[in-house]
């Protein structure tokens, strides 16, 4: 068959060359499929239920965000960053404005940095909540996703109070943030944190230690540390493989220079470890939000920047620790109002590369278990 030619796959177990063998089945998983987290298409070559090979086909959600950014002024581009990784708009905006600030040499006021930290950590919790909820849904548990979305709802309401929009907040500005916290926001946030602490415990009780969940995830999709580094994995994917690398700690930016983060690392390197890292990071983010709210300094929330922002001629790379890994912006300016190039280094895109490697030899049911544990967002993969 033409489709099988040149497939670079390992010899099957127990099948000598030239021996009679059954034919493989090619299964198109996606782009319309409940658990490919958007519009990812996987071309699976199956031997029975065992995956022999997998080819991810991406690009179904390509909206040309990087090109759009080139055709918008810097301030107008912030809003388009929301749509890249649509589960963590705050983090995307922070990366974008951070790159511009780095190029222009602006240091936002301390209060603005703390506000950014609080919103970023809340956004990280929201993103991890979606990751865990959908992951458990992929594994067949129906309840966690509704619980996590209930908690995420609180975060979105807080963002709505901040930026006027629940999802595409458009809140960060070059040199600071759009508004200060409205009246009563901190109390609301505190109340949400207290509630979420209980809910997180409840979620942990429901999922962690469940025999079926452990059987589905432990030892599945193992990534060893060397392999993780070789593939350029970042974020929870990397830390679950035992590599202690967190940009908030190793290359601290903004308020992370003052508030110390405890990176969450696990050694197992399997799907279970990735799930545990995300759970632990949510607790850690919750702690960071509380610490930042306690130490919140006064003062202005923004430096004075011209409305027609003209970054100086030059280029820069600025990366933050997004919910999924290193989210970097490679920003080139020709001195005009428009960025000459704004390249997004999306962690989802990079983390997805290892998928075919992980899937080979696993069962078909493990495809969704492994894919879900990567926590990709197709908006960021295709951009």
């Amino acid at each position: 068959m033409a489709t099988n030619q040149g497939v670079n796959r390992p010899p099957l177990e127990g099948v000598a060359p030239g021996e009679l063998r059954s034919e493989e089945m090619i299964l198109n998983m996606g782009p319309q499929h409940p658990s490919t987290h958007g519009v990812l298409r996987l071309v699976l070559t199956l031997e029975g239920e065992t995956v022999v090979d997998c080819t991810p086909v991406i690009g179904y959600l390509h909206r040309g965000i990087e090109k759009i950014l080139e055709n918008r002024t810097v301030m107008a581009g912030i809003r388009y960053m929301d749509n890249a990784d649509y589960l963590s708009p705050m983090l995307n905006e922070t990366a974008y404005v951070g790159a511009v600030e780095q190029l222009m040499g602006i240091e936002p006021p301390r209060r603005a940095q703390y506000i950014r930290l609080i919103t970023n950590e809340l956004q990280r919790i929201a993103s991890h909540l979606v990751a865990i909820g959908t992951y458990l849904l992929d594994l067949g548990a129906f309840t966690p996703i509704l619980w996590t979305f209930r908690d995420r709802e609180g975060i979105l309401s807080l963002f709505e109070a901040l930026g006027g929009s629940r999802f595409n907040v458009n809140y960060m500005r070059v040199g600071g943030v759009l508004h200060d916290f409205p009246k009563g926001w901190l109390q609301q946030c505190e109340a949400w944190c207290n509630q979420f602490e209980k809910n997180l415990q409840e979620l942990e009780t429901l999922i962690t230690g469940n025999e079926i969940f452990e059987a589905r995830t432990q030892g599945v999709g193992y990534v060893d540390p060397q392999q993780a580094i070789a593939y350029g994995l970042t974020g929870p994917m990397l830390r679950a493989s035992g590599v202690n690398w967190d940009l908030r700690v190793n290359r601290p930016y903004m308020a992370y220079r003052e508030i110390k983060v405890n990176p969450q690392v696990r050694q197992e390197g399997d799907c279970y470890a990735r799930y545990r890292v995300r759970m632990q990071e949510m607790a850690e983010s919750l702690r960071l939000v509380r610490v930042a709210m306690d130490q919140l300094p006064g003062g202005p929330i923004s430096t004075r920047t011209p409305i027609a922002l003209r970054p100086p001629r030059g280029e820069t790379y600025f990366a933050i620790e997004s919910s999924k890994g290193e989210l970097g912006i490679y920003f080139i300016s020709d001195g005009s109002e428009y960025p000459w190039r704004a390249k997004i280094r999306g962690p989802s895109f990079v983390n997805l590369q290892i998928l075919p490697e992980l899937l080979r030899g696993h069962k078909m049911s493990d495809v969704v278990a492994i894919l879900g544990s990567l926590d990709i967002v197709l908006g960021e993969v295709d951009r």
Binding site: V7, G140, T143, A230
Partner: protein, 465 residues
Amino acid sequence: MSGGVVLAEVWWEQLLHGILSWEFLEFVVVFVSIFGFVMTSAVILILAERKVMAWMQDRYGPLHTGPWGLLQTVADVGKLLLKEDIHAGKIDKAVFILAPSVFLAPVIASFAVLPFSPYISLPGAPLATGIVYLIAMSSLDVVGVIMAGWGSNNKYALIGGLRSAAQMISYELPLVLSLVSIVMLTSILRDNGLGTIAIKDIMNFQMAQSWPGKGNPVWDFIFEGFTPWAWFILVQPLLVLIYYTCGLAETNRSPFDLPEAESELVAGYLTEYSGMRWALFFLGEYGNMTIVSAITAMLFLGGWSGPGVAFLTAPGMAIGWQVLGNLLALFYFILKIYLLCGVFIWVRTTLPRLRADQLMQFAWLILIPTTLVNIVLTGALYLLLNALGVSNVVFLVVLGVVNWLMLFGFFWVVSRATTASTRRAVAPAIRTRQRLAALAPSPAAPRLPEPERAGVTGAGASSGR
């Protein structure tokens, strides 16, 4: 040919007599009401499931159709009936069209042998081989599923159908074996040593002849025919668990809902079905749930026994009391069925799904050995205690204690086995990875895209037919 002529003359007369007879009328009434029960039961169960799941998941569930959303499933049924009947292209048409009926028919046929109350039942209920009939019917379901999987001309459906076939056949065995011990118990408990596989008889074994305060009308009213301490669930709790687990697998319910695992196989063998054909599958599934719950209630929870039933339906009572007693029995029975269905729903909201190979391991390596051990143990224990000359009550108590201990041992084994099976299951993947690592020039070096791999992308993209 004269005999034929005679037959031809009388056949319509016989038919007329048959139709006009009291028995036939009774049959029609009971059949229609039981058929109606199956249908409405599915509708009620779907609504109950949605409401209970909503309650467990901190949300509202259906809310707007009728008061508190009670008419939601009625509206759904109306929608499904009116929906266009869509066929995918190049299906095996006869198989595709027949599959829903083949799936649903055994479910409805199963209800033929279920007694609903002392008097309300189909004429099939006194069948002496009730359990065998039920098992036979529940095994037939798999044919419909395979037909649906094959006829749909869809890869997801095919995988779903094959998975379902393997699953249903595997779980049929522990299901049957878990009932064998119950049949053994009946043969031990009966004086002449002859056991029974009639459902109603097994139920009667769970009604003790003595209760506290016998002779006092109030206590008699409550306890006559209602002796929860004699229910088989107390003697064989492990079997209830195993039977119920197998029931979950038989009905394709979570955590054994692999054949229609929506996150992997879209909707499994149901992928290409829509409208009323899809609804027939759904109906069959919920009917199956009712059947499994009903059998559990019958064999382990005393069936329709409840306060007042046996007292009111005793031979000497007036007809009005008899009717009331039967309605009470019906109420208790359906209550038990729905409580057990509630456990189905509860399990569904709690547990993730197993993987196909883990599912098979669970059936063949854990459930079947456990049930076999239980059978041997029950027999051995009886022989031992019989040799010592103790009474049946002592035997039941000892058996119960042993079985409760086995239940906790079972939990321990399962928790150990899941860990072990995980290790086994990932072993091939790890070996593959090691081989790949050996093939690669250096494990740490990033693998560059090779020309062949680019070829795969192109070929894979063109294979999207």
